[in-house]
């Protein structure tokens, strides 16, 4: 019995620490962006950019972040070019989201290029994260 309590509390504790660390990673990245010159971040600006259409000249089609991630962030999306399912971005249903700094950086860079046609500024990236982390 004692052992069980000990085990359970270790699990709970490590989960808590883990979650703390995870929650911390977005903030760490955001402060990195602030150090690079961004101001305060706004979730509503992030949301506006998330749904704003950008015309891709080559294909003649409109693109935005929903093109792959879908209209509802708590549901899975679908890669526009390959059809592959993309797991939901909302942390409320997918606790693995926004936990890896390198991963976030890589995808923000890649997805901005593809969607908007250029890399995003530190401010824009921080705003996206601000919007996403509340989901």
């Amino acid at each position: 019995m004692k052992k069980l309590v000990l085990m359970l509390s270790t699990v709970v504790l490590s989960l808590a620490i883990n979650m703390q660390a995870q929650a911390g990673n977005v903030e760490t990245l955001q402060s990195e962006y602030q150090a690079a010159g961004a101001g305060n971040f706004s979730a509503s600006n992030g949301e506006k950019m998330w749904v704003k259409n950008n015309l891709d000249k080559k294909s003649g089609k409109q693109r935005n972040c929903q093109t792959c991630h879908g209209k509802v962030l708590t549901q899975s999306g679908k890669h526009a070019r390959t059809g592959k399912v993309i797991e939901p971005l909302a942390r409320s249903v997918n606790s693995e989201r926004l936990t890896d700094i390198k991963f976030m950086k890589k995808w923000l860079k890649r997805n901005c290029k593809w969607t908007i046609g250029r890399e995003c500024s530190a401010q824009e990236k921080g705003d996206f994260l601000e919007y996403l982390k509340g989901q």
Partner: protein
């Protein structure tokens, strides 16, 4: 005038054998050259084989007209029988006539050859079945041709056999096809006693039902989450880094799907990977390339790998699996409407149809076109 009497000529096991053999052959024929139903093909093949083995035994211990010794005619007798067909009228045989008897012997021989070549192809090409692991892809190659030729030979013989039966039926004014169902014929004069052999027949019937049920029951218990995969492929080497780096935008295509030179070329183009930037650093790239090289198509770890490698010219290094001749041939019958389905969307979305796409094995029958 002697009155003809209705007498049993074919015992039950012989009749069951006959019609089950027809069924097994028909099923195997209907599913040949169709990977999605290879399981049905092999189940019918095994059934066919087992039935022939039974018939060999029954030809020795069965009832009078089922015994090989009873219809062991010389070629001379066949010729004179055939001759009599065009002459004044036929000599009457209660059991098999000489031509029919020879058709049976040839059919059984061809059938046994068909079964053995089938087992060899299954073992070599698919690495499945009784001979899996004993035969390589290359070794089984000639047997595939042989297997097909024998099957055509049997089909031809079956057509001859059926025509013969129809001609005989007309000449004798008796429905001989019906006789193979009922077991009885109108016999003039003396004929041998033929017991029904109900017990043995029920044993055959019950084993056929159990075998069929066991083979097909997986279809009943499969669901969308756990689709039925009759053939399990070998477990291929996996690499976490590869699955992470190459599995985000699309399926992490297993390295066995392209030759090593293609992978090498793909990595030198990493900034412009189908208009995407792979953004791989030196270290990651070299690990990925190593893994790709060690498991590329040339290693022949799966049937798909072997066939893909054969299908690519040595001076080519395709970047798309979907541009390879073998791939195109295998998917040529899929309509545009299916490719454009929302659940498919792209030819490279292998997982939409292949249940084992992530494992990289691409086994026969492990596929379903989404509805």
């Amino acid at each position: 005038m002697v009155q003809p009497k209705k007498k049993r000529v074919w015992d039950l096991p012989t009749r069951l054998f006959h019609w089950l053999l027809v069924l097994a052959f028909a099923l195997a024929w209907a599913t040949y050259d169709d990977s999605r139903h290879l399981d049905i093909h092999t189940i019918s093949g095994y059934t066919f084989f087992a039935l022939l083995l039974f018939r060999l035994v029954w030809g020795v211990v069965g009832s009078h007209y089922a015994r090989f010794s009873e219809f062991n005619y010389t070629p001379g007798e066949v010729l004179s029988y055939l001759h009599s067909l065009f002459g004044d009228g036929t000599k009457y045989y209660i059991g098999h006539n000489p031509a029919g008897a020879w058709a049976i012997f040839i059919l059984i021989t061809l059938g046994l050859l068909l079964s053995t070549t089938g087992l060899i192809v299954l073992g070599g090409e698919e690495q499945q079945g009784l001979l899996a692991g004993y035969i390589s892809f290359d070794q089984s190659e000639p047997f595939r041709m042989l297997h097909e030729m024998i099957a055509w030979g049997i089909l031809t013989l079956v057509i001859v056999h059926v025509s013969g039966v129809i001609i005989e039926s007309l000449l004798q004014r008796e429905n001989l096809i019906g006789a193979m169902f009922r077991g009885t014929k109108w016999v003039v004069g003396e004929s041998a006693m033929v017991p029904a052999h109900r017990l043995i027949a029920s044993l055959i019937f019950i084993s056929a039902i159990i075998w069929g049920g066991l083979s097909l029951n997986t279809y009943l218990i499969s669901s969308d989450d756990q689709p039925y995969q009759p053939f399990k492929g070998p477990s291929l080497a996996m690499n976490d880094l590869w699955n992470e780096e190459c599995g985000a935008c699309h399926l992490a295509f297993h390295p066995s799907l392209l030759p090593a030179r293609s992978w090498q070329y793909l990595f030198t183009q990493q900034e412009n990977h189908f208009e995407e930037d792979l953004m791989l650093d030196e270290e990651t790239l070299s690990e990925l390339l190593n893994y790709a090289r060690e498991n590329s198509a040339e290693k022949n770890k799966t049937e798909a790998a072997w066939k893909i490698n054969r299908s690519v010219m040595k001076n080519e290094r395709p970047l798309k699996i979907t541009s390879i001749t073998y791939w195109k041939e295998k998917h040529s019958e899929i309509s545009d409407a299916i490719w454009q389905k929302k659940s498919v969307q792209s030819k490279s979305n292998c997982g939409a149809c292949h249940f084992d796409a992530e494992q990289g094995t691409f086994q026969d029958s492990a596929m379903k076109i989404p509805d």
